[in-house]
Symmetry: C2
Subunit: 333 residues, 2 copies
DNA sequence: CTGTTAGCGCCTTCAC
DNA sequence: GTGAAGGCGCTAACAG
């Protein structure tokens, strides 16, 4: 293995000079620099990152905790990694299994400088537990969190739900169904706020709360069918749940299935294949922002975050879209 | 930050003794060991992995290259990471974008000891290029590769296709459709071998070769519809492509769609939602084996690989299954 | 502008 | 069974 010492010998300079060339810090004579660069390629020098990181006590590595619950993982992670790579950071993946103890171990990794920053897809601990760790390094999450110390590129679900409900009211709907997630997440709380507001204004609702792991939401359809009076439209919190809802409905009662309109969240390939009208939360930009937040904190810069561009993909499952209710959306048919 | 020196001072011993306790190497008096252990917890010592890895020039890190083409990424990666974690390894994700140059950079990471082993989801370089790197550390891939030096937990597609074709022949089918992947992969070559063998025995076929990125295979349906005589069964190389095929078919010609049977590979949630009969390649076990291969090589042990348990999920899209053609499969209805 | 020097935290001979 | 010493490869004062 060649080291800077070999380069130095070859170029007839000292190690420090080589180091200066390598790190682009301090003054180096143009000619010396050229000599060094020549020597570098001649001896085939490759920096030893292990040594460099040790010396700098920095890892240029971001931890990324997954927890097995997210269907859009592939898309998100890919974007996150690509952005990280473009800034010369590496991403290490950990699996928390939504276990608070495991999650704490990873938080400790941050404390003990084994990673520079941490992204938590969905947290297992209360944010009060997590927040103190942010003094050891930047933390971001996909979970919506009301904290100035932990970043989240969330889209406020209040407005998502409010827009849909406004649209439905304009359509004359007085009775609406919802399939919601049981997770006590801020997103679901916001969704509920939006729904309650409409309930207070006279909207009748049916709500089914879905345990996250429960058969992709199969039972929501069964529950729906037991209703004596059924809403004509159901808004479902995720594509794959909406998919399963429709599948079950169709299996159990084709007529009802044909009368039921569905709107979902995610706009993944599932909603595309099943012709489900779906809202796209712009995962790519979210992933970008999550990384850039971490990067900014690590490097004391402030690269601008990108604006999230919501999208409404209109498909057969629900077509009565009033663009005025979705001013910020790109509407795609 | 506390170091072994702090521990040594506290325990009234030397750094070396602390190190011996930490690494469990060499002789340490029981009482001394206890003293040291007490000191460790008293000063709240946490080993500096940066230093340790540097010293040992090992990373306990496995590189994992993705390339943006795989829909089952989430499932695979999660399993791989969990296995790695259970053996105290970390996984760093890189994105190659199927770019040979980028891939080579990651191969170099192995050469220069910045990762201990490497997993390549789907390789961009020829395996002759990759193979030499295996002397720097174990390499595994999801791509099927005919090499003793690079491991792949592949399932031989020859037998997958042969079994299906045998089943279809038993059903009396004399004309079969295929949607295949354009990737010049060993898997597709094997599939072709199996198909050709049946063609030689008189089977009539229609084949559509799908570019990987092309609209999820939308055009396969258009091409299918142009056929004057259409096969009754189409075997499609991936769930999402099968999904798109059926969707397009249904859109363009409902009658034909109803007459066309489909079998796919992957058994993901897509085939479940769309009621497509699908073969499950047991991704979990594949991921397990991929990691264990790397682990075995790194640690000069030979933990047994697990047997891949293929599954055939029978759904509405194709029901005439003859279990005798699938002796090794678990058949699930 | 460049070289000398010291040291990051850890592990591993080598004496004792 | 334990301690002293050296060094992994690199960077950053500090001199000059």
């Amino acid at each position: 293995m060649t080291t800077i010492f070999d380069v130095a010998k070859k170029a007839g300079v000292s190690k420090s000079t080589v180091s200066r060339v390598l790190t682009n810090k301090g003054y180096v004579n143009k000619k010396t620099r050229q000599k060094v660069e020549k020597a570098i390629s001649e001896v085939g020098y490759i920096p030893n990152y292990l040594a460099r990181n040790f010396r700098n006590s920095q890892t240029r590595t971001i931890g990324f905790i997954i927890n097995g619950s997210i269907k859009l993982l592939g898309e998100f992670i890919e974007k996150f990694i690509k952005v990280a790579e473009s800034f010369a950071y590496e991403v290490v993946i950990y699996s928390s299994d939504s276990d608070p103890v495991k999650e704490k171990q990873y938080l400790d990794l941050l404390k003990y400088k084994q990673i520079d920053g941490l992204f938590i897809l969905t947290r297992a601990n209360d944010w009060q537990v997590i927040e103190p760790y942010s003094k050891y390094g930047p933390i971001a999450t996909w979970h919506r969190v009301e904290s100035t110390k932990i970043y989240s590129a969330y889209v406020d679900h209040y407005y998502i739900y409010a827009a849909i409900l406004q649209n439905l009211r304009k359509n004359g709907h007085k009775y609406v169904g919802f399939v919601l997630n049981s997770a006590r997440s801020q997103n679901m709380l916001s969704a509920n706020d939006a729904i309650k507001k409409q309930e207070a204004m006279g909207l009748k609702t049916w709500k089914y709360i879905c345990a996250t792991q429960e058969n992709y939401g199969e039972s929501s359809a069964q529950s729906f069918l037991k209703l004596s009076e059924k809403p004509k439209v159901v808004f479902i919190y995720a594509d794959y749940v909406a998919g399963m809802f429709m599948k079950k409905l169709r299996e159990l009662d084709e007529t009802v299935a044909n009368q039921t309109q569905v709107i979902s969240l995610d706009n993944s390939i599932i909603s595309e294949l099943l012709d489900i009208t779906s809202i796209d939360l712009d995962i790519d930009t979210q992933a970008y922002n999550e990384f850039v937040y971490i990067y900014n904190n690590l490097n004391a810069v402030s690269l601008p975050l990108k604006k999230i561009r919501l999208k409404l993909a209109v498909r057969k499952s629900f077509t009565q879209i009033d663009p005025e209710c979705f001013p910020e959306y790109r509407i795609i048919k």
